[in-house]
């Protein structure tokens, strides 16, 4: 029996060892693995280009992460917590950067690299790549939401779209013209995006004091800004101004609503422009519809304050356990050149974080609203930056959903109590 089990162990060792060895790299330049979020293939093209330009210094292989941002975070956080040296470069969703930077999962950005990659970068993107006053990731592309509108609806309602509009004005139009506002009320990250933009636009902040420990985080929900945000969401929810699909509406559902007969105004990312154009090409959307679509800055929460539109996008992080940190930063610098950003913007519809990319004629042609996107990014505010972002976001979704149940008098307090208790480890989410 002893002999046989040894034999079995030896076989297992050979099989396992062999398959592990197969994972190792063959001879050639060092391979950098870039974990990317799924896109229309643009990141893979950039990876090939940088590999060619490196002159044999490195080769970038892309590895695709799950589709939604929270699953991407789950996978990366688990791998990094296990000191995975196979992660060289990562495409990171900005809200989760603090969580990975705090425990040292991201390799520090060298000072000279930080200086080069910060030049001409829009404010929102710089803020989103910064944690505790240091740049911890390389800004790549930056996203922001615009207010998209049907010119015919705005005209009929007598709304002057050349001037900044407020949420109250949109609510009035929806009430009187019997149309639906396309906003994201689903119990998902998009709801946090909306809440944050409303509060930031009113001059408030979801997190007012970072603290050192989780239990020391101070929230700013129970402020006039927080109440104003709750009033807007509650009104749209209670009066059914977002249509019956509001409690389950994500960005794609909003676009569908916007294109329907009751469509009027929509807050959404610029991908909708590519999507609508693609729909016209595919013949599922009437070409005349595009002519009726207008765009302007994100709505204001209060009439006298400029709005702070949502900021999203992707920044590049370098894994702290990578064996090729220097090469990875070289590759990151290559990936984020304004040329690559402009090309990525045009081909994949993801706006650049570098302002010079917007001067590219191809960008201006594909996105007539490119200048507005740049301005919106300059004014944008990131979601609360904290290593406990997930708790804050889930806590908000738990208490601000469904939109029809949001009450300015109670919701901000209930949310504050829940999030504070969760951060202290006293409650579940």
């Amino acid at each position: 029996m002893g002999k046989r089990s040894r034999w079995i162990a030896a076989t297992l060792a050979v099989v396992l060892g062999g398959s592990l060895a197969a994972c190792g790299s063959a001879t050639g330049p060092p391979v950098l693995t870039w974990f990317i979020n799924p896109d229309a293939g643009g990141q893979a093209v950039i990876a090939e280009d940088c590999t060619a330009k490196s002159g044999g210094a490195y080769r970038i292989d892309v590895s695709t992460l799950p589709r939604d941002a929270s699953s991407q975070r789950e996978q990366l956080a688990r791998r990094l917590a296990a000191n995975d040296s196979g992660i060289d470069l990562m495409s990171l969703d900005p809200p989760f950067i603090a969580e990975l930077a705090e425990p040292g999962f991201l390799a520090p950005v060298p000072a000279d690299v930080a200086e080069r990659v910060s030049q001409n970068v829009v404010k929102g993107a710089l803020a989103g790549a910064t944690w505790r006053d240091e740049l911890v990731a390389v800004p790549f592309w930056a996203n922001t939401q615009l207010l998209w509108y049907r010119k015919s609806v705005a005209e009929k309602a007598g709304l002057d779209m050349s001037k900044p509009v407020t949420w109250d004005q949109l609510i009035d139009v929806a009430r009187t013209s019997n149309v639906d506002l396309a906003v994201q009320g689903a119990k998902a990250e998009s709801l946090t995006v909306w809440i944050n933009a409303l509060i930031e636009s009113a001059g408030g902040q979801i997190i007012t004091d970072q603290g050192v420990r989780a239990s020391e985080v101070k929230l700013g929900l129970t402020s006039p800004a927080g109440e104003e945000a709750a009033k807007i969401i509650g009104t749209i929810g209670k009066e059914g101004l977002g249509g019956p699909g509001l409690p389950t509406a994500d960005e794609n559902a909003s676009l569908t609503l916007f294109q329907s007969d009751s469509g009027s105004f929509m807050v959404n990312w610029p991908f909708v422009w590519s999507a609508m154009n693609a729909a016209v090409e595919a013949g599922t959307l009437d070409a005349s519809f595009l002519k009726d679509v207008g765009w302007t800055m994100y709505p204001r929460t209060s009439a006298d304050k400029p709005s702070a539109p949502p900021y999203g996008g992707i920044n590049l992080g370098v894994g702290a356990f990578s064996k090729n940190v220097d090469l990875a930063y070289q590759a990151a610098e290559c990936i984020v050149t304004p040329e690559h950003q402009a090309e990525y913007f045009v081909t994949n519809g993801n706006p650049a974080s570098n302002t010079t990319a917007y001067d590219d004629p191809a960008v201006q042609k594909a996105f007539p609203m490119a200048t507005l996107i740049r301005d919106s990014l300059q004014a944008s505010a990131p979601r609360p930056q904290t290593p406990y972002y997930n708790e804050v976001s889930l806590g908000l979704q738990e208490t601000w959903h469904p939109p029809s149940a949001v009450d300015p008098a109670t919701t901000p307090q209930v949310a504050t109590d829940l999030i504070t208790a969760v951060l202290a480890g006293d409650r579940l989410l």
Binding site: E74, K187, A188, L428
Partner: protein, 328 residues
């Protein structure tokens, strides 16, 4: 034997007593044949046994251990022993009890509906004429062959307010119209979740019940028929009592399965509108929030619930698992 504390020893002891009971001889004087049989049994079952230990017992023990710590994956330095504090937090939180309640509700409703439907389907399959039997079984089994996530997505898109067709097909039913958002309130969300679960797993129950039906001797039914028993009386007095064991096994297996429901809820509502179930809560805590300690505590409690269901079924309802193998 007493000095051996390994699991191997325990298994050996079991096989020995079994052999002894059959042969009726004192355990010390085993025949060569009995010993050879025991050894063969060990060789056949041993590898699987060890594999089971490695992939089930080890993670369970690890979870129990982790549940005693405050441990967040992205704050490895803050890890600290907190005793049973995680259990106190979980058990004192209404979120946990709400999730438990919803899980129990889904389990009870789906199992009840599935047993009734499954029995009807089993009767149809059992009585179907020979030529149709194969085709019928295949048709009935199709839903069970579909991956749960895929069926969850199919049901989700069917009922979705933007892409679904249910609202327009069933607009003649009172309460259903184009503006009905199924996934916006608790009742309608749970209805779709339960309906999809029933559609998906009824074939499983009906197969188990079909096996039970096949065990009921035709002679008994014929005798009852000769005595003038109606169809209903034969079903009630002859068929059902004779297949009680099969029914209980089917109920137990399905209850254990239904209690761990995850995919449907995850895809359709992700726990919104009070549809959170225990598995989803465990997932959200340990995978989503990366709170390994708290999440492990929930997992351990879920595990204890499953054990409780097994215990209740086997001890109180006397489910005899061997009956499915036709040993009774």
């Amino acid at each position: 034997m007493t000095t051996t504390s390994t699991a191997a020893g325990a298994v050996k002891a079991n096989t020995e007593t079994a052999t002894d009971r059959q042969s009726g001889r004192p355990r010390k004087r085993r025949s060569d044949r009995a010993r050879a049989e025991a050894r063969l049994g060990w060789w056949l079952a041993g590898p699987a046994f060890f594999l089971m230990l490695a992939v089930t017992l080890y993670p369970i023990l690890q979870a129990v251990y982790d549940s005693l710590f405050r441990y967040r994956l992205t704050a490895p330095d803050d890890r600290a022993f907190v005793g049973l504090n995680n259990y106190a937090v979980v058990l004192s939180d209404p979120v946990f009890w709400q999730a438990t309640l919803i899980t129990v509700l889904i389990t009870v409703v789906t199992v009840l509906v599935e047993v009734v439907l499954g029995f009807a389907l089993a009767l149809v399959m059992h009585r179907a004429i020979k030529q149709l039997r194969g085709l019928l079984r295949t048709v009935i089994l199709v839903p069970y062959g579909i991956i749960t996530v895929v069926s969850a997505f199919a049901w989700f898109y069917m009922f979705d307010i933007n892409s679904g067709f249910v609202n327009s097909w069933f607009s003649w039913v009172p309460g259903i119209n184009a503006d009905l958002n199924w996934f916006a309130s608790q009742g309608t969300s749970l209805f779709v979740i339960i309906a999809s679960e029933v559609w998906k797993t009824t074939p499983f129950i009906s197969l188990l019940l079909l096996a039970g039906l096949a065990q009921v001797s035709g002679d008994l039914e014929e005798a009852a028929q000769v005595d003038g028993a109606s169809w209903w009386q034969r079903l009630q007095r002859v068929v059902l009592p004779n297949m009680k064991a099969a029914i209980m096994v089917a109920v137990l297996f399905r209850a254990l399965d239904a209690f761990r429901i995850f995919d449907n809820v995850f895809i359709m509502t992700n726990g919104a509108n009070g549809t959170q179930v225990l598995s989803l809560l465990a997932y959200r805590t340990s995978i989503g929030r990366l709170e390994i300690g708290l999440g492990s505590a929930i997992s351990v409690l879920l595990f204890l619930c499953v054990i409780l269901i097994c215990f209740v079924a086997i001890k109180l309802f006397k489910v005899d698992l061997s009956s499915t193998r036709g040993e009774k």
